[in-house]
Amino acid sequence: MTGTDQPLIRLTGVGKSHGAVIALRDVDLEASAGEVTCVLGDNGAGKSTLIKIVAGLHRHDTGTYEVQGEKVEFGSPREALDRGIATVYQDLAVVPLMPVWRNFFLGSEKRRRFGRLDIVSMRETARREMAAMGVDLRDVDQPIGTLSGGERQCVAIARAVHFGARALVLDEPTAALGVKQAGVVLRYIVRARERGLAVVFITHNPHHAYPVGDRFLILNRGRSIGDHNKDEITREELTALMAGGGELEELARELDVAGD
């Protein structure tokens, strides 16, 4: 059942509505180990809804969700985590006022006898894992709010990797970052892929998606409007598709005319 040819995550015909609003309709998504699957779409395309289903925050209304070929219905993010699916949210799911190491282990604290926290080991592990990701934190006791956006992103990714994530879901990790910091994060995505993780990378920026992605799923208004391997599509086609294809050409023509 758990053969290596099975994708780690497979969503088939998944739909979700919030009351009268259909947020997602008939969407397929696959993510395999050692691959980066990019989910692209404009604001309101249904990216967040899709990610919340994968992460276990929402339950899908229609379709199936399989993890290694096994059907699942997650009731909470905890259950998804237990299956090795870790999600790093746009707002990073960190508590700004808490020290880096407490954030690193939040929800998965190491304990010794009588429920006492194993602080020495948690501090050391946090420092080591961050170093492995290429961030040398001298002081893991500083509040995580004092780190830069890219570094915070890195803490969240390192945390997921440390806790045995086999699939990493990244929700707009580069959206709020400057050019250089976004580059740093993209490098971690590649590093996570090299470590054999299945990465689902959500973004609205095709220029961030194309260099690191192996497959591209493009959403528009809650529907899938394209699912391509990297060799099937160029960066320009991806950009055009994302912006709604014809719409962009029309816009270009319009602007050209206006410029004359």
Binding site: D91, A93, L97, R116, P143, S148
Partner: protein, 356 residues
């Protein structure tokens, strides 16, 4: 959270991964300044010196024991209230809950002619249930805890008075002084002893014990980690698997436990309970916690700080009397201290959260 997400935008890009040169600026002194208790500690020392100078009676052993006693009665409640505030919530019913708890014990024991320890146990169960009810109401309705507990505050205040009058025909409970178990219960909740010539009320020892336990929980257990997390950012905590609702309900029950203990002290110190007492005290507990460095917005603070806050409260409360000033001014000083403490806390938070 939005602050955390957007802070990267305005920032000058940092060149790649590697040591952050800004870390070097975090000296040991700055780290000390970042402790939540520090402001309160300096304030306590200043007040102590101040009253020692202006009030001759202040330094006498007897006065000191009075100050400690006043501090402990508020300090015990401040323990629960500060943990709840670190967890991001308020409990405005905490003041009358103490009276409710005391009334439950005194009324059930007297009306049913039980051993007072039975009343103590029934009170513990019912008070914890009231705390859980506060928590559940908050979790279920998603209303601000300020509103939920404001409602329960009035409901409890009305119940205290109504039930007591209905049962006793009086605004106070009947005396339980002559009932079985009173002496042993008094020994636990309201006795005193001599320590090196100073009369120490047992509540002072309980207070110190509660502060120690709360501090251990906050800094050395998973529960403590979760308390900071649900107060600092409940959504983030939920996303990494922290049972946010359970933690919050537990914190309301922690306040209830402290209220039960304070209530038992009332019962066995005075034998009768005035049903109208306790109104307004909830703000004093919150003041103790805030002076001690707890942020009103949650996620930051300490039980030791709240204890120092309670000590400041006790010193001011009694110090004004020893200085032979008009005690009418006490509330003015309390308000002024709250204002100063909040301004200091705000500065601390800004420094801690500063990301540029």
């Amino acid at each position: 959270m939005t602050r955390a997400a957007s802070s990267g935008v305005a920032e000058p890009p940092v060149a790649g991964p590697g040591p952050d040169e800004r870390l070097a600026r975090r000296s040991p002194l700055r780290r000390l300044l970042g402790r939540p208790e520090l402001g309160a500690l300096l304030g306590a020392v200043a007040l102590f010196v101040f009253f020692s100078v202006v009030a001759d009676a202040f330094l006498r052993a007897g006065s000191f024991s009075t100050v400690l006693y006043a501090s402990s009665t508020f300090g015990i409640m401040a323990v629960g209230v500060s943990l709840l505030m670190i967890g991001g919530e308020f409990d405005l019913s905490a003041g009358v809950l103490v009276t409710s708890s005391a009334l439950i014990a005194a009324l059930t024991a007297y009306q049913l002619t039980l051993n007072v320890w039975a009343g103590v146990a029934i009170s513990l169960v019912l008070t914890l249930a009231l705390g859980a009810a506060n928590g559940l109401l908050y979790v279920r309705t998603r209303l601000p805890s300020f509103i939920v507990t404001l409602a329960t505050f009035f409901m409890l205040a009305g119940l205290n008075l109504g039930v007591t009058k209905a049962l006793t025909g009086n605004v106070a409970s009947d005396s339980v002084r002559d009932m079985d178990g009173f002496d042993s219960a008094r020994a636990v909740f309201a006795s005193d002893m001599d320590v090196l010539g100073v009369n120490v009320r047992i509540t002072v020892l309980w207070w110190l014990l509660f502060v120690a336990v709360a501090t251990w929980i906050l800094l050395r257990t998973r529960t403590g980690n979760w308390i900071f997390a649900v107060g600092g950012s409940a959504d983030s905590a939920r996303a990494v698997g922290v049972p946010v609702d359970r933690v919050k309900i537990g914190l309301f029950m922690g306040v209830a436990f402290c209220a039960w203990f304070s209530g038992m002290h009332l019962v066995f110190a005075f034998a009768t309970v005035q049903s109208g007492e306790g109104v307004g005290n909830e703000f004093l507990y919150i003041i103790c916690a805030v002076i001690g460095g707890c942020l009103l917005t949650g996620g930051y603070g300490s039980a030791i700080g709240a204890a120092i806050g309670a000590f400041i409260f006790g010193m001011t409360n009694k110090g004004i009397v020893y200085a032979e000033w008009n005690p009418d001014w006490f509330r003015f000083f309390l308000g002024a201290m709250l204002l100063i403490a909040t301004v200091v806390n705000l500065a601390v938070r800004r420094r801690v959260e500063r990301t540029s």
